[in-house]
C-alpha cells in the first residue's frame, strides 16, 4: 500500500506493507539518524516525533501514520546541533549511536517542561539508554543547555 505523510515538514510517499515498521521506512527515506538498538521498545534509540510527541519508531506501523507528521533528527538539525554543542563539550556523545534518539527526547522535554528538576529530567529520559557514558555527562550537558535556553527566553522577554 502507498502511504503519504509529512516527514520533516515535507510531504512524502512510501510504498509499505501492512507490517512494515516506521523505523525502516524512515531509514529508507534517508533519515539514517534513526537507529535500532533493541527491537523491544526498551532502548529509545529509534525515538522520533509523531505529531510533536516522542514515540518509538520500532513499534509504529508505517501504515498507521498516513496523514500524520513525523520529525527525525534531520528535521531539527539546527536545534540538535545547538544542544549537541553542550553534549560535545562534555565528551558525552561518546560512541554517538544513542545520540539521535536521546537528543530527540531531550528536545521534546525542553518543549514540554519549562524548568525541569534533576529528577524530572532523569524520569523524562529514562527510556533512553546509553551504555557508554553512565549518563552523568549527558545530565551536565542538559543542565547547561536548559540554563542557556532559559536565559535566552528571559532575554527575549526583556527586549
Amino acid at each position: 500500500m502507498e502511504i503519504q505523510f509529512v516527514l520533516n515538514d515535507k510531504q512524502v510517499k512510501a510504498e509499505v506493507g501492512a507490517d512494515t515498521i516506521l523505523l525502516n521506512v524512515l531509514r529508507d527515506l534517508g533519515c539514517k539518524s534513526v537507529k535500532c538498538g533493541c527491537e523491544t521498545t526498551n532502548c529509545g534509540l529509534c525515538t522520533v516525533w509523531i505529531n510533536g510527541k516522542s514515540r518509538l519508531s520500532c513499534s509504529v506501523l508505517a501504515a498507521s501514520i498516513e496523514g500524520e507528521s513525523v520529525t527525525t533528527l534531520e528535521g531539527v538539525e539546527k536545534e540538535a546541533a545547538q544542544f549537541g554543542e553542550f553534549l560535545a563539550d562534555e565528551g558525552a556523545e561518546q560512541c554517538g549511536f544513542c545520540s539521535p534518539g536521546f537528543i530527540m527526547n531531550v528536545l521534546a522535554m525542553a518543549r514540554e517542561l519549562q524548568n525541569p528538576t534533576l529528577d524530572e529530567i532523569k524520569e523524562y529520559l529514562a527510556g533512553n539508554l546509553c551504555r557508554c557514558t553512565g549518563y552523568m555527562g549527558q545530565l551536565r550537558a542538559i543542565k547547561k543547555y536548559i540554563e542557556v535556553k532559559n536565559a535566552e527566553k528571559k532575554g527575549g522577554k526583556e527586549e
Binding site: K32, S33, E93, Q94, C95, F97, S99, A126
Partner: protein
C-alpha cells in the same frame, strides 16, 4: 614524612609540566563530535550499499547436537534467495574468532559452520537474499534433523566430564596454555612466589571464601554488524564494526582459507565495543556469502542475537584464601579461578590470567602468593572480552575477601587497605615482577574517602524511615597494553599547505582515541588540532596496530605518536634546512616555520608542504612503532554509598565516589566520561545484570526486556576525580583508563551492603531478594 614531601614536590613538577602543555590535558571536543550529534550516516549499516544481500543465520534450538540432515532445497528455490550455506560449504580448517596477536593463545576450535552444534543459538546455516522478508521466509523452509546430545551445562563439573564439547581431531592450541580438548580444558596454569601454604598456616586469620561472578553482556548500543563487497581488484572488502581490523583480516584469511592479501578491512564509526568487538563475531558470515557469490552482503545482528550468540564476560568462580596477622598485615594470598569459556575458547586462556595477576598485586605487603586456574568448555554461548577482562572478576573476589578480613579484624576496610596497598617503587611479584614507577593509589584512597565523607558515614547510618545507608570501598588496577606483544604503528604525512595526516590503526569505538592521539600529535608538533586530519582504520592504508583493546591505545599507540612526531620534526628540520640552504644543525622548527638561527631566514610549514610536492625525491613523512616491555598499571579507588530498604532488601545506589590514577589525563572530559560510563556498567554488573539459562541451556536473558542494563534512574550519582601520577614510560606520563573503571563497583557495593545490613552476597548480581534472604537468615 620525607616520602610524603617527595610526592608533593613531584606533584608540583608534574603540575608545572601540565601547565606548559597547550593541547594535552585539555578537555577538547571529539574530532567527530559534530557528525555524531547531528546523526550523520557514519556507521556500518548507514554506509552499506542498498543492494546488499541480507544475511541471516539459522540458529540451533539445542545446546548440544549433531546435524544429521539439512535440507535447503525449498529455501534455495525461493525467488530472491541468493544462497543457503551449510557446514558442507565451509572449509574444515579450525580457527579462532579472538582478536589477538598471532599466534593466538585462544585455541583454534571453530569452523564457520560445524556439523556439531555447541550451544542454543549456534549457527546452523547462512541464508542470503534480496530482502529481510524473503530471507526470513527461507529460514522457515530449511529442515534440519538433529541428533540431540546431552550438553555440559555446569561449569563446575565440566573438567574431565565424559561428554566432550570439542572431541574433534583437528582442534588445536597454538600456545602452551595448558589446553586439552579431551578434558574440556581450554587453559590451565599455576604460578606462585614463596610458600603460600606455610605463610597461610602461620597467619592469625585466614579468610577462605568462594565468589561467583556471572557472564555479563557488553550491550553496546550498536549490535554486531558487517558489510562486505568485492572491489575492482577482485579483493574482499569488509566494512565492520570492529575493534580489531588487522586481526579480522587474519581471522577471515584463516576462516575462508584464502590468502590474507585478498582481504581489506575498513572500520567506520563504531557504536560502542567494550571488548565485545574484540571478537570477530559477525564478519565471517557475509564474508563467506560475498566470497562465494561476488555480491555485496551485510549482516545486522538483532539485539536478541547479540545477547544469545556473542562474546560476553567469562563467568568465574574464584576461591580466595587470604591470610593476615592480627594487626592486619596481609601475608599471603592464594587464589584459584574456575572460568567458563562456553562453547568456544575465545579469550579463555587470557582473561583468566588477569583474575589473579591484576588483583593480587594490589597488596604489596603479601609475602607469598599462589594463583592457579582452570578454564573449561561448556555448552553455553562462548565468552569473550569485556572491559576489565578477568581483572573485574578477580578484583570482585579479592576485594570482597579483604572486606571480609576487615570485618573479622574489626578494622575499617580503608585502614586495612592503607596498611597493605601497593606503593610507588614496589616490585610486584604477581605482576610478572614489574615495578610500579607511577602509583597514586594512596592518594586515590584518601581523596575518595573525603569525597564520600567516609569518616562520618562508615559503616552506616539509619535514615529513620526503615532505610539504612552504608558505604563500601574497593581498589582496582589494570594494565596499559599487553607487554611485549601489543604493537601500535603511526604514520604522519605533511601535505599541501603543511597540514598533517595522522594515520593510525588504533580503533576509535566512541572512546575518542582519534581525538586524544591527535591531541598528542598537536602537542608534539606545536600546531593546532585543526592542522591534523585523522580518519578511521583501513588495513590497506593504516599502519599496523593490533587494535583497541587491553587498555593499550593511549599508552601504546600514544607512544608511537610521540615517537613519530619526534622523527617527523627532525625530518621537517632537515627539509627546511635543505630549502634554506643551510645545515640542519643550524635550524629550529617551532611548529609553524623552520628558522635558520644564524641568518634568521625562515621557511613556513606551509611552504615546505607545498614544495615537497614538486620535484621531490623523498616524501615528507615519518612512521614509527611502539611496543612496551612493561604494562604500567593505572590504579583507582571506588567508594559506594547505597541505601537499603530493611524490609524488602532493595538496594539503591545513592552516590559513587571514584578517584583514578591514570597517570597524566590526556583529555579530562573524555577520561571522566570513560570513568562514569565504566562505573555505570559496573553498577549494572553489581546489581542488575544476569544471564540466566534454562535447564536445557536456553538463554532467557535474550532482550533488553530481560537483560536489564541500568537506565539513568538506576545508577545514582557518580562523581569522578583524578589523582595523577606520572608514568615515565608513557606518552606525556599517561597510563590507561578504559578498562580499570569497571572494576570497583561490584566489590564496593557489596561492601556497602555488608556495612549497612551485615549481609555478604558472594554471587553477583546483588539482588534485593538475596539481600532480603541474608537479612532474614541473620534474624
Amino acid at each position: 614524612m620525607a616520602e610524603g614531601q617527595n610526592v608533593c614536590s613531584e606533584n608540583k613538577e608534574i603540575r608545572e609540566t601540565m601547565r606548559q602543555m597547550r593541547v594535552v590535558n585539555k578537555g577538547i571536543r571529539k574530532v567527530d563530535a559534530k557528525a555524531l550529534v547531528t546523526g550523520r550516516a557514519v556507521y556500518t549499516n548507514d554506509i552499506a550499499s542498498s543492494d546488499s544481500l541480507i544475511v541471516k543465520l539459522v540458529r540451533s534450538p539445542h545446546a548440544h547436537a549433531l546435524i544429521k540432515e539439512i535440507n535447503t532445497t525449498r529455501a534455495e528455490a525461493l525467488p530472491g534467495i541468493e544462497c543457503v550455506l551449510t557446514y558442507k560449504d565451509c572449509p574444515n580448517k579450525r580457527f579462532t574468532l579472538a582478536g589477538q596477536t598471532y599466534p593466538e593463545p585462544s585455541p583454534y576450535d571453530r569452523l564457520i559452520l560445524d556439523q556439531r552444534i555447541r550451544f542454543v543459538g549456534d549457527a546452523v546455516a547462512i541464508v542470503a537474499g534480496t530482502s529481510e522478508a524473503v530471507v526470513k521466509q527461507a529460514m522457515r523452509l530449511i529442515k534440519v534433523k538433529y541428533e540431540v546430545l546431552e550438553p555440559v551445562l555446569d561449569f563446575r563439573t565440566a573438567k574431565d566430564h565424559p561428554i566432550l564439547v570439542h572431541p574433534e581431531e583437528n582442534w588445536r592450541s597454538l600456545c602452551p596454555v595448558g589446553a586439552d580438548n579431551k578434558r574440556n580444558l581450554c587453559a590451565h596454569d599455576v604460578s606462585e612466589s614463596g610458600d603460600v601454604d606455610a605463610v597461610l598456616a602461620s597467619c592469625d586469620h585466614v579468610i577462605d571464601r568462594v565468589y561467583h561472578t556471572k557472564a555479563n553482556q557488553q550491550a553496546m548500543m550498536e549490535t554486531f554488524r558487517t558489510y562486505t563487497y568485492m572491489d575492482a581488484y577482485g579483493r574482499l572488502n569488509i566494512v565492520s564494526s570492529t575493534q580489531v581490523p588487522f586481526h579480522v583480516r587474519r581471522i577471515l584469511g584463516n576462516a575462508l582459507d584464502i590468502p590474507k592479501h585478498k582481504i581489506r578491512v575498513i572500520k567506520p564509526r563504531i557504536g560502542g565495543g567494550f571488548g565485545a568487538k574484540q571478537t570477530s563475531v559477525s564478519e565471517i558470515y557475509p564474508a563467506l556469502v560475498t566470497w562465494k557469490t561476488g555480491k555485496p552482503a551485510k549482516i545486522i545482528y538483532t539485539r536478541e542475537e547479540s545477547l544469545i550468540a556473542s562474546s560476553p564476560r567469562h563467568e568465574m568462580e574464584i576461591h580466595v584464601r587470604l591470610g593476615a596477622d592480627k594487626e592486619g598485615n596481609i601475608k599471603g594470598i592464594d587464589l584459584y579461578t574456575l572460568s567458563n569459556t562456553g562453547a568456544f575458547g575465545e579469550h579463555g586462556p587470557t582473561t583468566v590470567g588477569l583474575s589473579g595477576h591484576k588483583s593480587i598485586p594490589l597488596y604489596g605487603s603479601a609475602e607469598a602468593f599462589r594463583f592457579s586456574y582452570d578454564v573449561v568448555y561448556t555448552n553455553v554461548m562462548s565468552a569473550g572480552a569485556y572491559r576489565g577482562y578477568g581483572a573485574t572478576q578477580g578484583i570482585f573476589a579479592l576485594e570482597s575477601a579483604v572486606n571480609e578480613l576487615a570485618q573479622t579484624l574489626h578494622m575499617d576496610p580503608t585502614v586495612l587497605r592503607a596498611k597493605n596497598m601497593v606503593r610507588e617503587g614496589q616490585m610486584m611479584p604477581a605482576y610478572y615482577g614489574e615495578t610500579t614507577r607511577s602509583c597514586a593509589l594512596d592518594r586515590c584512597l584518601e581523596r575518595a574517602k573525603e569525597m564520600i565523607g567516609w569518616d562520618e558515614k562508615y559503616p552506616c547510618y539509619d535514615c529513620g524511615n526503615g532505610k539504612v545507608r552504608g558505604v563500601g570501598v574497593a581498589m582496582a588496577m589494570q594494565g596499559s597494553g599487553i607487554s611485549g606483544v601489543d604493537t601500535g604503528a603511526v604514520e604522519i604525512k605533511v601535505n599541501d599547505d603543511g597540514f598533517y595526516s595522522l594515520m593510525i590503526g588504533a580503533t576509535d569505538m566512541g572512546t575518542g582515541c582519534d581525538t586524544i592521539l591527535t591531541q598528542m600529535a598537536a602537542e608534539c608538533l606545536e600546531c593546532e588540532m585543526e592542522d591534523i586530519v585523522v580518519h578511521g582504520v583501513d588495513t590497506d592504508n593504516s599502519p599496523y596496530d593490533c587494535g583497541s583493546y587491553a587498555s593499550s591505545t593511549t599508552y601504546v599507540t600514544g607512544m608511537a605518536v610521540v615517537k613519530t612526531c619526534e622523527t617527523l620534526r627532525k625530518k621537517i628540520c632537515e627539509r627546511g634546512a635543505e630549502y634554506l640552504g643551510c645545515s640542519p644543525d643550524d635550524v629550529e622548527f617551532d611548529g609553524e616555520k623552520v628558522v635558520n638561527l644564524k641568518t634568521k631566514e625562515e621557511i613556513t610549514r606551509k611552504e615546505i608542504g607545498n614544495k615537497v610536492m614538486c620535484s621531490s625525491n623523498a616524501p615528507l613523512s615519518a612512521t614509527e612503532a611502539f611496543s612496551s616491555p612493561v604494562s604500567p598499571p593505572p590504579f583507582m579507588v571506588g567508594i559506594a554509598e547505597v541505601e537499603i530498604d530493611k524490609e524488602t532488601g532493595v538496594v539503591e545506589p545513592i552516590d559513587y565516589a571514584a578517584v583514578v590514577d591514570c597517570g597524566t589525563v590526556v583529555n579530562p572530559n573524555l577520561a571522566r566520561v570513560q570513568t562514569e560510563g565504566g562505573i555505570a556498567q559496573g553498577i549494572g554488573m553489581a546489581l542488575y545484570e544476569d544471564i540466566i539459562y534454562s535447564e536445557k541451556g536456553k538463554n532467557y536473558s535474550n532482550s533488553f526486556m530481560q537483560y536489564k542494563i541500568p537506565s539513568r534512574l538506576d545508577v545514582g550519582e557518580i562523581r569522578v576525580e583524578f589523582e595523577s601520577s606520572y608514568e615515565p614510560t608513557g606518552p606525556f606520563g599517561a597510563k590507561s583508563i578504559g578498562e580499570i573503571v569497571i572494576n570497583t563497583p561490584s566489590p564496593a557495593i557489596s561492601n556497602a551492603v555488608q556495612n549497612a545490613v551485615g549481609v555478604i552476597v558472594r554471587e553477583l548480581p546483588i539482588t534485593a531478594e538475596k539481600v532480603y534472604k541474608g537479612m532474614a537468615e541473620k534474624e
